[in-house]
Amino acid sequence: MISLTINGRLEQLDLPPDTPLLWALRDRLGLTGTKFGCGAALCGACTVHVDGEAVRSCSAPIGQLDGRKVVTIEGLAASVGKDLHPVQQAWIEEDVVQCGYCHSGQIMSAAALLAQVPRPTDADIDGALGGNICRCGTYQRIRAGIHKAAEIAAKA
């Protein structure tokens, strides 16, 4: 049995230890906001936070995460005690999303960046989100959204 705190709630998972976290989230816990993209840590769609760091859940076996804290897109706002995380608010204000499939991963990576770098440069953003692929090509809006999120967070 593997114990994980997911979005503030303790979950006991009776699954093989090599089960990818993404499978546990989507298929066992019904947290389908985290998306399957490539299954090989190449696209970033499945990004969640583990102990505050961005992690590709498709490539993180749950057996290695026993006792750790996971936050998914469903729990992101609550993790900062808001109805919307500043990144989510900025995403709405900047109309960042096109098809949206990659954006739970984009938002989770952006939030992980802002948690450590409150006023990121474009280079910081490019470094943090280089592994998050958007097939709609919304990269300019993602960058603008992160700068907006930094402003929102600074005012809060």
Binding site: E53, S59, A112, G130
Partner: protein, 200 residues
């Protein structure tokens, strides 16, 4: 009479020691030469390091012992995709750490992993160094993480991240020399004076 017996005993012991030394030098001529021929020890030390260098230059090692602000990947040592960066602590940047994708073990989907996955510090960057410079770099405690030669040997022979090179997963090839053999070679290099190959 007693003095005569003692003399015989000393003679017998001396003969035994001589015979043992003869057997030892016959069985292990190199070891005997080390003790008696500094020039040969130097040559053996340099030869041991040349073999060590073939491992250090292997892509499995060199891809993360770079002199760049990013890691490399593959046997062709191309720049790591996804704009992966070294970061201040050699483990990536905020939002994209090495541990964002690399966990403590290799994954079934091909993503490699080992404990402490990350780049070696820039001071341990080996790209472009010849054998002489590489050996000097490894011995230099201001560049090697303040490691003694014994700690260097332990690192190469037993470190779990180093060991990944011989269990890289996903069809990746390993260095030609095994990690156990590498450990022995490093020990031999140290025992023979840790001599750097001559500069060319």
């Amino acid at each position: 009479m007693r003095r005569f017996a003692a003399t015989n005993l000393i003679a017998a012991l001396g003969a035994t020691a001589f015979a043992a030394a003869l057997v030892w030098s016959t069985a292990f001529p190199a070891a005997a030469a080390v003790a008696t021929d500094p020039a040969d020890a130097r040559a053996r030390s340099q030869e041991a390091f040349r073999k060590i260098a073939t491992v250090l230059r292997d892509p499995r090692c060199m891809n993360c012992h770079t002199l760049t602000d990013f890691p490399r990947q593959g046997d062709d040592r191309h720049r790591h995709i996804m704009n992966v960066l070294r970061g201040g602590d050699n483990h990536g940047v905020p939002g994209q750490r090495c541990s964002t994708c690399h966990q403590a073990v290799n994954q079934a989907n091909g993503v490699p992993g080992a404990p402490k996955w990350g780049l070696a510090p820039l001071s341990m960057g080996w790209e472009g160094l010849n054998d002489h410079q590489l050996a000097d770099s490894i011995k230099n405690m201001s560049r090697n993480g303040n490691r003694t030669l014994a700690q260097i040997q332990d690192h190469m022979a037993h470190d779990t991240l180093v060991a990944w090179a011989w269990n890289p997963g996903a069809g990746r090839r390993s260095p030609q020399i095994s990690q156990a053999e590498l450990g022995l070679l490093v020990q031999e290099w140290i025992d023979t004076g840790a001599v750097s190959p001559d500069p060319h």
